[in-house]
Symmetry: C2
Subunit: 255 residues, 2 copies
């Protein structure tokens, strides 16, 4: 990995360093006193203060204040850069084309600049996502309930959107399964209710609705009961284990 840095560069030195880093698409860090203007979907202005600017090789931009997880100003990947002096300040402009958004960062002092060409091929694996839970339920339908048989997944229901799993229970009743990776709230219940209602109207038959989630919030339980919907607790960990065990089998076997 090649990298370089400067301590307390002049604005001219910093400008040259930054232009070099941007043109070579290296990761760039700038620490200094700056002011930031943003104009695009919304507009904002950040007065002078000491911050960290991060520019990545794909054109992502973040301006970080000393505190707070989120950048105060930013630009997503694909931004285009222009560096120049304006009123004696070092100006870095990052432009996004669609939607058209412009971020202007003005430095009147730079304490530190750093650039590097990072190599990172490391695999990132998240153990359980909502889609994983769906796969797990399709792989092992009894997680929903004994005798449950999936008929379709990600089925469109017109205005209502997409339901996660449609199946039938051991009695042959239609069952709509709504999956949540996080604790299910009122919104999930209402969403399920829309699907169930739509299906009842379409088919004219009895339709059951089941929320599958790690837990259901207390405030959603009343609504669930009032709408005669059901809840089945399934932990992400269980799904992860099912997926690990079921590797190699194809989804198409089940739907």
């Amino acid at each position: 990995m090649s990298h370089q840095s400067l301590e307390e560069p002049s604005l001219e030195e910093a400008k040259a360093f930054i232009q070099e880093a941007l043109s070579r698409r290296r990761m760039l860090l700038v620490v200094g006193n700056c002011m930031v203007d943003y104009e695009g979907r919304a507009s904002s202005k950040l007065d002078w203060g000491e911050r960290l600017l991060v520019v990545k090789s794909d054109g992502s931009v973040m301006v970080h204040r000393p505190t707070g997880y989120e950048p105060v100003n930013w630009q997503p990947p694909g931004s285009i850069f222009h560096v120049e002096f304006e009123d004696g300040k070092l100006k870095i402009r990052a432009t996004r084309l669609q939607p058209k958004e412009v971020l202007n960062i003005f430095f009147d002092r730079v304490y530190h600049v750093f650039s590097a060409e990072l190599r990172d091929e490391g695999e990132f694996s998240m153990y359980v996502t909502e889609m994983d839970m769906q796969k797990a339920l399709l792989t092992m339908p009894e997680l929903v309930e004994e005798g449950f048989q999936p008929l379709a997944a990600e089925k469109e229901l017109g205005e209502s959107g997409f339901l996660d799993i449609l199946g039938q229970d051991s009695q042959g009743n239609l069952v709509v399964v709504e999956i949540k990776r996080n604790p299910a709230g009122r919104e999930a219940v209402l969403q399920l209710e829309r699907y169930v209602k739509t299906l009842r109207e379409k088919t004219g038959k009895q339709v059951r609705g089941v929320i599958v989630a790690p837990e259901i919030r207390r405030e959603a339980q009343g609504l669930l009961a009032a709408l005669k919907l059901e809840f089945r607790q399934v932990s992400p960990r269980r799904c992860y284990e099912v997926l690990k065990a079921g590797k190699g089998r194809k989804l198409s076997e089940f739907i």
Copy 2:
């Protein structure tokens, strides 16, 4: 502003530097080859690669890969740190207490470390928010329509939630106003419909529903028409100007 950095430190030197920075609550940057484990609401593992670690004075943590706007792993403000050697690797543990989440970062090589105590009192101002739009509509009700008179704002409607503005038109009909700063979608229409329906049931009178937003999405227009609801285009910029002009006047004059 005081700041310091090291180039190509040994792991021992890096450990001392990092511990010093964390204990003094300085902003810390580490560039090096690392591996990351996360366990909490979900779980993840990131194999070895070259990345940027940012730790802020409030305990925010971000691990950034060479590309992508978002950090691959992170911890929100308030995290607690522990630094030690494990299997010859420099291990930085960031723990969040609620919910309990642990982020472990292992470095086998450090290219660059930097720390600084940033001072930033600069004011950040966003020109228009959804609440600003509400204030603007209360300040200048004709933005909704000629003769519109606000009666209440943020009014609770039981299970339905809070409606943005309740008012009456020049004919004395009740009007529910639903404000969106962004293009209004199907969800906004359904939300408005819930409020209108609830109010109709409560009052037994005719109730109109109006969505105020910069624009309405195409796919929501059919639903809007079918439910006999209305749309009024209002730009954030217009709201911003109304607010600027209306400064000094109090909200309580209007509601």
